[in-house]
Each structure stands twice: as C-alpha cells, then as structure tokens.
C-alpha cells in the first residue's frame, strides 16, 4: 500500500504545534509505517512537492513570502489542516494587529529603540503584512485543529481518523489556548 503523503509547514508560529506532533512519542514509529513525510522542517526537501495528501500548517500568515508559500501549498495539497491556534485564529502572532500601524510599530521597537548599533529596519527580508492572518482568511482550509498547542493525543486521533478515511469530530475534544 502506498504511504499517505504528509507535509507539515511552519509559518509564523512558535513551533509548539510541531513539537506537540513529535510528542506523539513512540506512536511516531507506528505512524512511520503509514505515512511518508514529504515536506517538513524536520526533513531535507526544500521545495513543496505536488500532490500532497495532507498538509499540517502551523502558524499565522504574517509576511508576503508566507502568503505566497501558503497559496502554493494550497494548490498542491488535497487536505489542508490549520494546525494550532495561530493558524486557526492568529493567536499571539495576531496580537500585533491590535496596534494602529502595526508593522511600523513592531519594527520600530525591535530594530530601532532596542538596538545599540546600526539601527535600521531589515529590508532584504520578506515584507511583513499589515495584519497577521489566520489561514482561512487567505486560502480555503479543510480542517481546523485548534489548541495552543493541540495535544499530542488529539493530533494522533485526527491523523488516524483521516488515515482511516473518516472525518474526525472535534466536538468536545479540542480546546482553544
């Protein structure tokens, strides 16, 4: 049987959801039988492949590169999962949206006020979006997996349900935050 192609992506987030994925501990070994991790921060493939079955996307969309990346991912993925609170709601990443001119204000604080030498905004880096967005404001999301981070058990449950061809039901199981 061909293994299910799974990808995990990490946008603007803290990696906690990926860590929670790894917190499945020895169950990862069982999973290795069923899935093939075709793209992930923990594997060495640099370009997002075509025809991915399931993609877990952690983090909010906060800069132009991520926006572009997410659109590519969407095109190449059958089932896109918003993985964790940042991807689902914006969470902490989106707290900067509460400021009027958020991009300027956050950059000013970090790269001018709090710096001793060569104060400047980094320019040769992806431009920040005016607001950080949860995924579904940018692309279509097929499944939401909230939590900060979602627990390893929940991830395991969802993944196994999907692998077995069922739609996982989150009612009463998940929790924001």
């Amino acid at each position: 049987m061909a293994k299910v192609k799974v990808a995990t992506v990490w946008l603007s987030g803290c990696s906690g959801c990926h860590m929670s994925f790894l917190d499945q501990d020895e169950k990862i070994i069982e999973l290795a039988e069923k899935i093939e991790l075709v793209y992930s921060p923990i594997v060495d493939i640099k370009d997002f492949p075509e025809n991915v079955d399931i993609t877990f996307v952690e983090g909010a969309v906060a800069n132009e590169e991520q926006l572009h990346q997410l659109k590519t991912i969407r095109e190449r993925t059958k089932l896109l999962i918003a993985f964790g609170d940042c991807a689902v709601t914006g969470n902490v990443v989106a707290l900067r949206n509460m400021f009027q001119d958020s991009v300027k204000e956050v950059l000013e604080r970090a790269y001018v006020e709090n710096v001793d030498h060569s104060k400047q905004y980094p320019t040769q880096v992806p431009k920040l979006l005016e607001n950080a967005h949860p995924l579904h404001e940018v692309v279509k999301v097929d499944f939401y997996l909230p939590g900060c981070p979602p627990s390893a058990e929940l991830i395991n449950y969802v993944l196994n349900e999907i692998l077995d061809g069922r739609k996982p039901s989150l009612e009463g199981r998940f929790k924001f935050g």
Partner: protein, 234 residues
Amino acid sequence: MSERTVKLVIDGREVFAKPTDTILKAAKDNGIYIPTLCYLEGLTAYGGCRLCVVEVKGNPKLMTSCTTPVSNNMEVITNSPRLNKYRKQIIELLLAERTHTCSVCVANGSCELQELATRFGVDHTSVSRNWKRFEIDMTHERFVLDHNRCILCTRCIRVCDEIEGVHVLDVKRRGKDSSIVIDLDEPWAASYSCTSCGKCSAVCPVGAIYVKLKPLSETKKKELPEFVVERRRR
C-alpha cells in the same frame, strides 16, 4: 413553595414544572442541557446572549428559555440542527468581536466561552476577527478589568446592582461600541462607589474581570450560593 403543576414537553419528554419556572429552569431540573452565557441563577435574566433560545411549538419566533415562563402543554425543542447552528454562530461572533486570545488569558481552562466553543465544536470563526485594542484597567489594587475579553453579558453589572446593591458598573455607549463603564468612566481605583467586594470578578464568565495575579481556575465561583439564589427568589 408552589407545586410542580405545569406539564410541558421538552424535547419529546414530558416534564413537570412550577408555574413560576422558566423553560430553562424546567429543563435544568430535568437534566436537559441548554447552553447559557449571560444567565446566572440568582440574577435577573437578561436575555442578551441568545444562546439559550429554544423553539416553542406554535410560536414562529425563537424564545429565550431563561426568560420565557412555562405554560401548560407547551412543547419545547431545545436541540435542533437550526438551534445548534445559531448557537455556533453566536459563539463565533463572540469570539470574533474582541480579541479572545485564549492561550494568554487568565481564564484559559475555566472560561465559559471557551468551554462552549469546545462543546459546540466551534473550531474557527468564519467571520473575521476584530483587533480593536482596549485599555486594560489595572488601577484597582485587587481587580482587573480587561475590556478586550469582555462579552458584555452584564453579569457583573447585575451582581453589583442586585446583590451588592451599588451599581458601580453599567454599559456605556451602545451597539458595537458598548463597553462596561465604572462610575462616570473613571479608572477603577478612582471609583467612589465601588466597595471592592469582588462579586463582579466572581461571576465573570470569561477573563474580563478577575482577581489580580490569580488564574481563574483558582478564583472563580461563577455560581451564586444556593441560599443567595433562594433569597433572591423570594
């Protein structure tokens, strides 16, 4: 105390209630769950959150079960796809209305809104979230008022008015601009009517009013003691 003399049908089950009961009370007494948020037993029913709406046979409108009294032979449906859809939508709207960032909230884990989201499977908000920033009032030595998390259920206002009897709090402005106000829009510490009793923090269903430096899981008693409720009923 009056007898349970009113017979009604809730979700196909025949139940008996006192004539003074509301649908919510009758359902609760019979172990039927109806979600609530602005309702707190012992305080005047408010009817604002609309989560407890039910269908009453013969009435084209949805009725809030916390305010509608029972009547004989009433047929009530508390749980239908339509109702649950509306409930989900309401929870979504509440989550989107202000910045509910559960992960960094004092109420995380003991928040009624969060719990409802879990129960009804509101795993995201289909409407975009607001990011308006409200000043947090931390002037009081013991309590904090964080408007960013307020859902305007007005439990705090009612408990302050009806139980403590002071009415320090009210709502200012209206519509989407409504927010809780202390005296004449004073910093809390400058309120001259506040008795610092803390009832408001005890009934807040979310993390909007809380005791400084304490997570809600340690401080909250969201339900009023039975004898208080009983006294209020009289």
